[in-house]
């Protein structure tokens, strides 16, 4: 069955928002652990949390408290990157394509949304952060799991997969950027360097895999190598770009990828893959990790834009503009 452009776009963003939500709660959980591991050192706990707000924090009058940061990241509906915002957007996208996804996937998205909007959940997080984290992570991870198991692996599913892997590649690179301060801070700040590097790995759920893969003491270049360049680990940027490539091939069917030149998204993604394929961690560190990451994020953004232009719509900005008038009119068109 042919796939509507609008449906394809919502599939793509449904999985992107789910993936983004997972990244947000991981970050909260890991930061909480890190703060506890710092023990009784003379440090303001806010030092651990404020960086998570990124540029937001610099616009605030005073240093935000840890609880404030956690609340903003998890429950602030006005913050577009918060957990509730991501889940709400995922649900909106899922509602738009309700007839194209399985009931299992829809219900999982919906119940996750409902759980997060239960007024009790705010105190639940503060009372038992880890239990909250696990519950939310599991609920969110079930969504791609159910999609794999209950939606036919044809074009709509490939858009889900494409969104998921592009988003994860982007998230992992952003976590490395955000935690860059851990990788570059003077080592006296923490009792043990290993603790903070492990924290970076944990924020993308990779600490055990790292240990197993290297069986060596953690150190920054290896962490960077593992998270950016490892070909087989499911959280590494390179692995996700490869998976995105496979999804794009599924989307384009027999045409497209074979003839990369004629398919702008495939061309953009192919070039990016080649860069990671041939990069070595020494070069990356030598050129500057931060610059490399910024570049990477821009390129992922470009791939996403090219996917939008090729499959969703001509003008990437039309959709938002129309949303408000459309809502009013739809409401006016009453049903019998």
């Amino acid at each position: 069955m042919a796939l509507l452009c609008r449906v394809a776009e919502n599939m793509f963003w449904l999985s992107r928002y789910v993936e983004r939500a997972i990244a947000v709660i991981r970050l909260i959980d890991v930061t909480a652990h890190l703060e506890l591991d710092a023990g009784d050192q003379e440090r303001d706990p806010s030092d651990f949390w404020a960086p998570l707000l990124g540029e937001d924090a610099s616009t605030m009058d005073s240093m935000p408290s840890p609880a404030h940061v956690r609340h903003r990241l998890a429950f602030d509906a006005t913050h577009p990157g918060s957990l509730v915002s991501c889940v709400r957007r995922a649900r909106t996208a899922a509602r738009e394509v309700r007839e194209s996804i399985s009931s299992e996937v829809w219900e999982q998205v919906n119940t996750t949304y409902l759980a997060l909007n239960d007024p009790l959940v705010v105190s639940e997080m503060e009372n038992d952060l880890h239990a909250f984290f696990r519950r939310m992570r599991d609920a969110l991870l079930l969504i791609p799991g159910l999609a794999d198991a209950t939606i036919a692996h044809d074009e709509p599913w490939y858009f889900l997969s494409l969104g998921q892997h592009l988003e994860r590649a982007d998230n992992v690179s952003r976590v490395v950027t955000l935690q860059g301060h851990l990788l570059s801070a003077p080592s006296t700040v923490y009792r043990d360097d290993a603790v903070r590097w492990l924290a970076v790995l944990r924020s993308v759920g990779s600490a055990e895999a790292y240990a197993r893969y290297y069986s060596l003491r953690v150190d920054p270049p290896r962490v960077v190598e593992f998270l950016l360049l490892n070909p087989v680990f499911p959280q590494s940027v390179r692995h996700n770009l490869n998976a995105a490539w496979a999804a794009l091939a599924g989307v384009s069917g027999a045409v497209g990828v074979a003839d990369v030149g004629a398919n702008p998204p495939a061309r953009a993604l192919g070039m990016l893959r080649a860069r990671l394929e041939h990069a070595t961690v020494d070069e990356v560190m030598e050129q500057g990790l931060h610059g490399f990451l910024v570049d990477l994020q821009n390129e992922i953004g470009r791939v996403s834009d090219q996917v939008t232009l090729a499959y969703f719509r001509q003008d990437p900005h039309v959709g938002r503009h129309m949303a408000v008038t459309r809502a009013a009119m739809i409401l006016a068109a009453q049903q019998q």
């Binding site: 069955m1 042919a2 796939l3 509507l4 452009c5 609008r6 449906v7 394809a8 909106t92 509602r95 738009e96 309700r98 007839e99 194209s100 009931s103 829809w106 219900e107 919906n110 119940t111 409902l114 074009e155 989307v251 069917g253 499959y311 129309m322 408000v324 008038t325 459309r326 809502a327 009013a328 009119m329 739809i330 409401l331 068109a333 009453q334 049903q335 019998q336």
Partner: protein
């Protein structure tokens, strides 16, 4: 059938109304006996537990409707009452035959008024009433609909008065909604209370989406070998969005929005990731006014520009047909008995309610004098908006409606206030009577098919007569007992 052993029943006051379940205090109607026996075995806590399970199930599955409130709609769950409403096979036979007759006559009427208009020149129905109706569409005059059918999906509202007589309250011939609740209410009840279905022979309702698909295939343009069918929804903010997704999924067709469609070179297309794809049949849940901005509302973004021209060329089929709404105009409703006699030379099987039309002087006088006893309705509204229920209104509201009716006589009708039948509903920790209606669904492709049962809507507020979901109405699963079953001989 009065000798059946009266089961131990719950304390319940049927009041002075026709009660669907009780023929007298403590006396259950025979076809409700197995249900009453089952209810008698349950403690309030158990009923409450089942009720909660059912509510959670609706919530989790997102079976919601949107209510106009602020700039975006608010999603609500339709309250579900888990005591089913039961119709005997005999009751159902009458309803079924009555609706078939009615829908057949209304389609003959629609064909006539868009062609020779014999019924108007014969004076059986006033021409100005028809031609001046907001639902009358000049643009489909002379168009031949496949099989002469205009109303492929009909949801007529039936009510029962104090004597138990069924009446047709109104017909919904444009975009009737509610059928998804028929199916979902059944699914939820089967899950929360499976035992009930072992003790009663209930006709299934699952097949609706497949039947609808058959209708849509049947009306496809002859040029389309393997027709592409889509469901056109106004979008996620629409009150019936859940139903649109439900039906699209059940039929396995695309659900499209106006922005997914465009017209080019005399055909309708949808935008897909592999380019355009031709569309042959649209089950549209968008009103006539919004279908084509070139033809009616220029600001509409819910339809597609040029759609009407493609339709007129016969390269596209729509369900329901454009222009069908004239026949569910609340003023024309008053003439349906005549329409039935005119085309079929039969007496109406299901009566209509005495309807007063303000543009007839005698009726206007009566309405103004008796407004406190009447229900006054705006002819172009639905969903329980724009109506006055005389006995439940204040003097100020009555005066307001007197003014409205005088200022725009064609815009209103009035009917006597019926004492709608009631049904036991679970309220907090016991059963109370609530007024109900019934909306059965009729499909009309090559032939007519009335889906067994329909949606029983419940006015959840004590004493209220308004069953619309937008006004806080709830729903019940509705059973039609199979022929030859335990309830088929009683009436």
């Amino acid at each position: 059938m009065t000798a059946h052993p009266s089961p131990a029943v719950f304390p319940y006051d049927p009041g002075g109304f026709w009660d669907e379940m009780f023929e007298a205090p403590g006396r259950v109607r025979p076809h409700y006996a197995p249900l009453a026996r089952r209810l008698a075995t349950l403690s309030p806590a158990e009923v409450e537990r089942r009720q909660r399970t059912a509510d959670l199930s609706f919530q989790a599955r997102g079976i919601t409707f949107a209510v106009n409130q602020g700039s975006e709609g608010v999603e609500k769950i339709m309250p579900f009452d888990l005591v089913p409403r039961i119709l005997t096979a005999a009751e159902w036979r009458t309803i079924e035959r009555g609706l078939e007759q009615r829908v057949r006559a209304l389609n003959l009427f629609l064909h006539d008024i868009y062609h020779e208009a014999r019924i108007l020149s014969d004076g059986a129905v006033p021409a100005d009433l028809v031609l001046g109706s907001r639902g009358y569409r000049r643009e489909v005059r002379g168009m031949d609909m496949p099989g002469g059918v205009y109303t492929h999906v009909v949801g007529s509202d039936l009510v029962r008065d104090h004597s138990g007589q069924f009446y047709v309250l109104e017909d919904n011939l444009r975009t009737p909604s509610g059928v998804s609740y028929v199916v979902e209410n059944r699914r939820v009840l089967k899950r929360t209370w499976p035992q009930l279905f072992h003790e009663n022979d209930v006709r299934p309702v699952e097949g609706y989406a497949q039947d609808l698909l058959d209708v849509l295939r049947a009306i496809a343009p002859e040029s389309a070998d393997d027709p592409t069918i889509v469901l056109l929804t106004p979008g996620v903010y629409n009150s019936a969005y859940f139903e649109h997704a439900f039906l699209a999924k059940g039929m396995g067709v695309q659900m499209v929005e106006g922005t997914d469609l465009f017209v080019d070179d005399g055909a309708l297309y949808m935008r897909t990731t592999r380019g355009r794809q031709r569309v042959d049949v649209v089950y549209r849940r968008v009103d006539d006014d919004y279908l084509d901005p070139l033809a009616s509302r220029p600001d509409s973004i819910l339809g597609a520009s040029g759609l009407l021209a493609v339709y007129r060329m016969g390269r596209l089929s729509l369900a329901n047909a454009i222009g069908a709404g004239v026949a569910d105009d609340k003023a024309i409703y008053a003439y349906v008995p005549r329409i039935i006699r005119y085309y079929l030379a039969e007496e109406p099987i299901l009566p209509t309610i005495r309807t007063y039309l303000p543009n007839e002087p005698g009726d206007l006088h009566y309405i103004l004098e008796h407004i406190g006893e009447l229900v006054v309705k705006a002819v172009n509204e639905s969903g329980g908006y724009g109506m006055l229920i005389g006995p439940h209104s204040t003097r100020a509201e009555q005066e307001e409606f007197r003014q409205l009716v005088r200022a725009n006589p064609r815009g209103y009708i009035a009917q006597p206030t019926l004492a709608l039948s009631r049904h036991p509903c679970w309220v907090e920790d016991h059963f109370e009577g609530r007024h109900v209606d019934l909306r059965p669904f009729v499909l009309f492709g090559r032939e007519l098919k009335v889906s067994p049962g329909g949606l029983t809507r419940v006015a959840m507020r004590p004493g209220s007569l308004v069953v619309n979901s937008s006004q806080g109405g709830g729903g019940k699963d509705t059973w039609v007992l199979a022929e030859g079953g335990s309830g088929s001989t009683s009436t």
